[in-house]
Amino acid sequence: MNILICVSRVPDTATKVKVADDGKSIATQNVKFILNPYDEFAVEEGLQLREQHGGSVTVLTVGGQESTDILRTALAMGADKAALIQLANPDSYQVAVNIAQYARNHSFDLILFGRQSIDFDSFQVPPMVAQLLDLPCLTIVSQWSITNGTVKAERDIEGGKEEFETTLPLVASVQKGINEPRYPKLPDIIKAKSKPIETIEPVAVEPQLEILSMEIPQTERRHVILGDSDEDLEKLIQLLREEAKVI
């Protein structure tokens, strides 16, 4: 099974976001960038499927030169090949078009994503890639089995669960909990540093989204801090009913 894992480079979840001087992007000084946490599950899933079915795992990202660091993380985890489509600050549509083009130039049975990238949280690239390639697509898969080209998958939706059946080739995104991502071992991290990363020119496609400004939301909070006496608990209930009017 030939598997393509599409990954993205995002600020660490512990990042306190500040707006950069341009007023429309985040300040990157002192920000640690990591492999998108959901993509770790995609990489792990690809590696496990390769162990079961044979084949190869290629990791791909669309981004600037700095994105090679997350490709090396995936190589250290065990991916066979890595490719960077060099396009700085792409929008999601440009990412989808470029991934689709790369997939057309190769032959993959499975194109796998983490369920969302934790920067823009749009969930949009996997369905776009599927539509561009005219392939079936399952998103936010929490559990699945792949046997002889037939895929049975389960996912949570709002207030319920769904089960689907589909076939390879397939575009899919996976949910946290589908596996336990492995930690790369030190020798593998060192080895990954010297593995080649293919650099690819991007497809010329215009972005659809233009960011005009970015701001940090400021919600005024009341900050009424009480103790834990019975009277204080009664006061809290009264405030929730009469001041906030939420219960």
Partner: protein, 326 residues
């Protein structure tokens, strides 16, 4: 402008976000003018009629034997494309729930329309629609425009809320028969199970979440009891999900769900940046924590400094008394 709202169905009912999509469509109409139409797929007449009390006057429902009681992203995207083509839609609005999140991008590709997900605000600046959308799990908000003529966007649940009016609008329901074959159903749904009696954190008006301060998984029954009295969903911090105390579906935060309920009660949660990102857009926040310096208090409207295991049973009992009286 032709403005369309997609009205998703879950189980046999329209999902509550269907009405929010109608409200958002009317908001766009107020900003740029034009006509609003609702699109539904395989929804029965009685359910469709409920939209009239949200001011909808025209609705088109796609019906086809292959569409009965199922869902398939590829087939539904095809139907939605045909509906939007037949009405020459300029702006398509979908709720940002699973179905909207996978159909919106697919339909956008078919029209080469610009797409933006999880919109919380819409404005008109010099004749151009400007969309506001949280990024980095709500740590920041962007204002953006779509450069394409056709635009598709999804709206965050619980933001474009509206109450049903006393009187219904005069609603015209039309039927549309899409061109479909079995082969269009690239993904076949085998089953759908509704979780009974369990509210989803992303859906609920009130969420009660627990963290490490509960000390042991079995103490979550105190959270469940408080949630029950309030009609709330149960949420959890990443720490307790990673420890295996609670399922991932309950996790609130940057690698869980980002939510905006009317009331969020954080119990025994210190308030790591990644948790705050997931819940700080809640309308009212209550924190219960024994550490008065915990960061959660900085985003709280009301705080109780105390031990969760001691506070919860008393708070639940008092609430039961008060809420049952009224």
């Amino acid at each position: 402008m032709k403005i369309a709202a997609f009205l998703p169905k879950l189980g046999d009912k329209l999902h509550k976000t269907a009405y929010e999509a109608i409200t958002a469509a009317h908001q766009v109409q107020a900003l740029v003018g034009g006509d609003v139409v609702g699109f539904a797929i395989d929804v029965d007449q009685q359910q469709l009629e409920t939209t009239a009390r949200y001011g909808l006057t025209r609705l088109i429902v796609a019906e086809h034997p292959l569409l009965a009681n199922t869902y398939s992203p590829s087939a539904f995207a095809k139907v939605l494309h045909q509906l939007a083509s037949s009405q020459e839609v300029d702006i398509l609005i979908l709720p940002n729930i699973t179905y909207g999140k996978e159909l919106g991008p697919r339909v956008a590709v078919t029209f080469e329309a610009g797409y933006i997900a999880d919109v919380i605000g819409i404005e008109n600046q010099d004749g151009e629609l400007i969309f506001r959308k949280p990024v980095y799990a709500g740590k920041a908000i962007i204002a953006a425009r779509l450069k394409t003529a056709k635009k598709i966007f999804t709206i965050r649940p619980n933001i474009f809320t509206a109450k049903a009016a006393e009187t219904a609008a005069s609603l015209n329901i039309e039927t549309f028969t899409p061109e479909l074959s079995e082969a269009d159903f690239r993904e076949k749904r085998l089953s759908i199970t509704r979780s009974t009696g369990k509210l989803d954190v992303a859906e609920a008006d009130i969420v009660v979440s627990g963290g490490r301060g509960l000390k042991a998984p079995e103490n979550f029954k105190l959270i469940e009891e408080l949630a029950e009295v309030l009609g709330a969903a149960v949420g959890a911090s990443r720490a307790v999900v990673d420890a295996g105390w609670r399922p991932h579906s309950e996790q609130v935060g940057q690698t869980g769900k980002t939510i905006s309920p009317n009331l969020y009660i954080a119990v025994g949660i210190s308030g790591a940046v990644q948790h705050l990102a997931g819940m700080s857009s809640s309308k009212v926040i209550v924190a219960i924590n024994k550490d008065k310096d915990a960061p959660i208090f900085q985003v709280a409207d009301y705080g109780i400094v105390g031990d969760a295991l001691d506070v919860l049973p008393r708070l639940t009992a008092k609430l039961k008394e008060v809420l049952h009286k009224s």
